[in-house]
């Protein structure tokens, strides 16, 4: 039984070590995390303006690639959180609150916030200058956000910047309209870019493998000694 147990330890250790190594290499998580909103409607973006909560752009490493599609001229702008809030001035918005699902199939979680104060819609965002980075295009827009490029001393402060995205209702300067989709892609870095079980499996597997190897060696020697002793006893019995 001890021999079987030793071989089991050897096999389990080898399997764990190999799996750990695979998780750190070929089975490592994707180096980028892409998440999109659900299609427009009750679970997607419904308000004229879509804005990320503070911290969403800082989910993991920079840069963050943004793509949005929607009606008319689609606008994307990154602004200081307070400036974006001042620009919205109580307008209804769909908040992007975070991500859900798993790394291979993540989706943006959203929450609708009704308008207050100035009403539901906001004016054409391209007329304002609160955006540190902005892009627009007919039907879709894309930008790549890296706070380090702003040159601001607090650029990397978590939650300093938010993204605002809108479509337009009837043409340029004609108010905002809900997006069809919004997709964010982060570059995973640090712990986020490694499988959490990879290193523990490799270390534990190596230890169990070593333990199993020692057990197998000891058991094999014991079995050989036992066989030699039996052989010697049989030979002595035959001589007598």
């Amino acid at each position: 039984m001890r021999r079987v147990l030793a071989w089991l330890l050897l096999a389990a250790g080898a399997a764990a070590a190999v799996t750990g190594a695979l998780l750190l290499t070929v089975l490592a998580p994707p180096q980028r995390l892409t998440a999109a909103t659900a299609p427009a409607g009750p679970t997607g973006t419904t308000a004229p303006a879509t804005v990320t909560d503070r911290g969403v752009l800082d989910l993991t490493g920079s840069p963050v690639e943004v793509r949005a599609t929607g009606p008319g001229d689609v606008f994307l702008g990154v602004a200081r959180a307070a400036d974006a809030e001042a620009w919205l001035d109580g307008a209804a918005r769909t908040r992007v609150t975070g991500v859900a699902g798993d790394l291979d199939d993540a989706r943006l979680t959203t929450a609708d916030e009704p308008g207050a104060g100035s009403g539901d819609a906001a004016p054409d965002p391209r007329a304002a200058d609160v955006w540190a980075l902005a892009a627009d295009g007919e039907g879709s827009a894309e930008l790549v956000w890296d706070p380090a490029t702003t040159g601001a001393p607090d650029a990397d402060r978590t939650g300093a910047w938010v993204l605002l995205a809108t479509g337009t209702a009837g043409g340029a300067g004609d108010g905002t309209a809900a997006l069809d989709s919004l997709r964010l892609t982060w570059s995973l870095s640090g712990e986020d870019a490694r499988h959490p079980a990879g290193t523990p499996l490799l270390a534990a597997g190596a230890a169990v493998l070593a333990l199993g190897a020692v057990g197998v060696l000891v058991e094999e020697r014991r079995v050989r000694r036992t066989r030699r002793a039996r052989g010697a006893r049989r030979a002595a019995g035959a001589g007598a």
Binding site: A86, G151, H195
Partner: protein, 340 residues
């Protein structure tokens, strides 16, 4: 194989399979990163307009101004205040076939450096120093945004006077401290007071009580000489000359912009509306107006004329123990004429 020997082996095989399955299951358990906690402590002092944002704004302004040309409505999208009044007057003069006189406005908006204030509220402003244009003088461009939903517009572009240079301010990335209109901490006087005193000096010349607080400058000399010549000429012919100068109304009770310089002083940008009235002798003949005045008046001869000029000056206000106020840059030109 007997059933008694086979049973432990099957158990061992099951155990081995279970042990081997655990790592395989773990392979599918990589987790999504959570949204990081946002610090509750206040943000460090930083310019509200990031350097890259200022570059983008100035680029948009340059493009819009170039495309607008002399179209007053298109200009209003990116130009306001004295700059808009001067550009509209110049367009009217050109439209009448005359050549607008130099006003000290920027002839080049390409930015060389910028001063980005640390301010949260609107209206917001920032300054850009431009490359020297055809007049070989860099200009100080004042850009203002009245609300979060309105763009920055060029408010004034006074050009540096010969022999002057701007004092050093903090680097754009760090932002500069804003000095309130009535803040006089460590200053010769508050920005509003200094601006008012310089208005008096321009109007009254050396007779102004605060004349000694200001260094001699080319613009003051030019204004004083021009006023003396006109007054003398009209008096000799039996006419009269009068003038008044008041601080330009700003927005939100902020008639001027001021920022702290590295030496502890302040850089102040102030605008004035300078009104002069020249009246010929009672029953006298009509006099010919010069082409620029005639273009703005809509007539070529008059017995009297009320001229309105808009002036923008950049003043270097020293710290309490730092000497006199220097005039660094000026923009001035006719914007309205009413002839009778």
């Amino acid at each position: 194989m007997s059933p008694r020997r086979a049973a432990p082996r099957r158990a061992a095989a099951r155990t081995a399979a279970a042990v081997l399955a655990v790592p395989a299951l773990l392979a599918g358990c990589a987790q999504l990163p959570p949204v990081p906690a946002v610090p509750a402590d206040p943000a460090p002092a930083a310019p509200v307009v990031a350097p890259v944002q200022a570059e983008r704004v100035v680029g948009d302004v340059v493009r819009a101004v170039r495309e607008a040309g002399d179209d007053p409505e298109a200009l209003a999208g990116r130009v306001t205040g004295p700059e808009l009044a001067l550009r509209r007057a110049a367009a009217r003069v050109r439209g009448a076939g005359a050549e607008p006189p130099p006003t000290g406005s920027a002839d080049e908006l390409t930015p060389l450096s910028s001063s980005l204030p640390r301010q949260e509220d609107w209206p917001r402003w920032f300054l850009v120093v431009t490359e020297p244009g055809a007049d070989s003088a860099p200009s100080v461009v004042v850009l203002r945004s009245e609300s979060p939903r309105e763009p920055y517009r060029v408010w004034a572009t006074p050009s540096l006077l010969p022999g002057t240079s701007l004092p050093t301010t903090e680097a754009p990335a760090l932002g500069v401290a804003v000095v309130g209109p009535d803040e006089d901490a460590n200053l010769l006087a508050s920005p509003r007071e200094v601006a008012q005193r310089y208005a008096d000096v321009l109007t009254d010349g050396d007779a102004a009580p605060a004349a000694a607080d200001f260094a001699e400058d080319a613009y003051r000399e030019q204004v004083t000489r021009s006023v003396a010549e006109q007054t003398e000429a009209l008096r000799a012919g039996g006419g009269t000359f009068s003038q008044s100068r008041e601080l330009l109304d700003g927005v939100d009770d902020r008639p001027l912009v001021a920022l702290r310089t590295r030496d502890g002083g302040a850089l102040v940008v102030a605008g004035y509306r300078w009104e002069t009235t020249a009246t010929g002798p009672e029953g006298g003949l009509l006099g010919d107006l010069d082409p620029v005045t005639a273009a703005l008046a809509g007539r070529e001869q008059a017995r009297s004329a009320r001229l309105v000029r808009e002036e923008v000056v950049v003043l270097d206000v020293p710290p309490t123990d730092g000497g006199v106020v220097s005039v660094l840059a000026v923009q001035s030109g006719l914007t309205e004429v009413e002839a009778g």
